[in-house]
Amino acid sequence: MESIKEIEAIIEAVLFTAGDPVPLEKLSDIIGHDKKTTKNIMTDLIFRYKNASRGIMIREINKGYQFCTKPEYNDYIAKLGQVRKKQGLTSAAYEVLAIVAYNQPVTKAYIEKIRGVNSDSALSTLIDRNLIKEAGRDDGPGRPKLYETTEEFLRVFGFASIQDLPVIQLNEIQEVMENMPLD
């Protein structure tokens, strides 16, 4: 059986080659250990990469692992002259993305009810950018399309998973109703 150092070397080689996130299950298959052990090794490895004076680190995305550069070296990477700048999203697109992120899978009607405005173009922009995707259809009348966020969404906005999204005060509404001043 390989030593822990060797296992880490294997993981590094595999992650480097894969480029895309390597799912935890796949990784545990490759190194021949159970998922829990693999997860522990990865957590440790992520921590060590983060704190070592190295230009790369490991990100957890959607229960997979991926190498990426550390943000502080972007200025130097830019000198390579190969970094493409993406056009920013509109405020409308960010709003729709926020609604999809917290309510997925979600219909267009639900999004528009919250925003109070037609959201067709924002939705199609987000689909084009691969930040959201169709996720089947709702059982309700008309069987409307459902939307959910993609792995690209997690990557672009720095989340490990959907569960990693910050908790927004959902019970705030409850408080509003209690504190509502009565005339």
Partner: protein, 250 residues
């Protein structure tokens, strides 16, 4: 007051993503407690904004008008005396639904701002493209006798015999075609003409023993040689024989 407001709005005109966005802007601008919105004031300001939009000849999305109607409806309900209620029944604030929706909207609006910040940080991070690693094909051991293999081979070959021949014919034609070059043909004719020989085109290039492509290229070469002034080309009869006569160097 109205003109000052108009000026203030014109700068931000395009930035409102919808009626809630505008309403929210007004709430923040007036430093109003979102849970206790002075409906009359907000409605006035909201209507002023729509007026400003109209003066600029901007198309007002129907959603903005729906909100205007809702605001006016709430305003009118606030003016009316509340219905008498029993002790157990709670009085319903006409603003409740609007406030709830506004709070709900604010929640996502805040989160969308958070997303923008997150993106700024993470755009600085770069990834590597995946390497294409072909799946390893694991060779399976075959357990068949040489006799079975031989009969399989014969069967397959007989099935494909016709097609195989076709391919070789096609290949031959393709290879032949590659040999035909206009330059080579011109050189060929110049060589003959240079030796002062008069010749018939049909002797030189004939479909009987040359490919059609070669004949066509040969014809082009003859025209080229005539253009160079190295030969005289005559065809006494239409579709008849073409005579190529060498010309002395001028």
């Amino acid at each position: 007051m109205s003109s000052a407001l108009t000026n203030a709005y014109t700068i931000k005109l395009d930035n409102f993503e919808g009626p809630f966005d505008l309403l929210f802007y007004l709430v923040e601008k007036n430093k109003i407690d979102i849970y206790d919105i002075p409906i009359a004031e907000i409605t006035d300001q909201y209507m002023d904004y729509l007026d400003a939009m109209q003066k600029l000849d901007l198309e007002i999305a129907s959603e903005f008008l729906v909100m205007a109607a809702t605001l006016l409806h709430i305003k009118s309900r606030m003016l009316l005396p509340a219905k008498e209620t029993t002790d157990e029944e709670e009085e319903i604030d006409p603003r409740e639904e609007l406030i709830l929706r506004l709070v709900e909207y604010k929640k996502y609006k805040d989160f969308s701002e958070y997303l923008k910040e997150q993106e700024k940080d993470w755009v600085l991070v770069h990834y590597k493209l995946p390497e294409i690693i072909p799946d390893l094909v694991i060779a399976e051991e075959l357990d068949v006798s040489a006799e079975v293999l031989r009969s399989c081979y014969i069967r397959v070959m007989s099935q494909y015999k016709g097609r195989m021949n076709d391919v070789s014919k096609k290949m031959k034609r393709i290879l032949d075609r590659e040999k035909v070059s206009l330059k080579a043909k011109i050189r060929e004719i110049l060589d003959i003409v240079g030796r002062g020989i008069k010749i018939c085109f049909s002797k030189l290039y004939n479909t009987a023993y040359k490919s059609r492509l070669e004949v066509a290229t040969g014809f082009l070469a003859v025209l080229e040689v005539a253009k160079l002034g190295r030969a005289r080309v005559e065809q006494p009869k239409a579709f008849g024989e073409i005579y190529i006569t060498p010309r002395k160097d001028r």
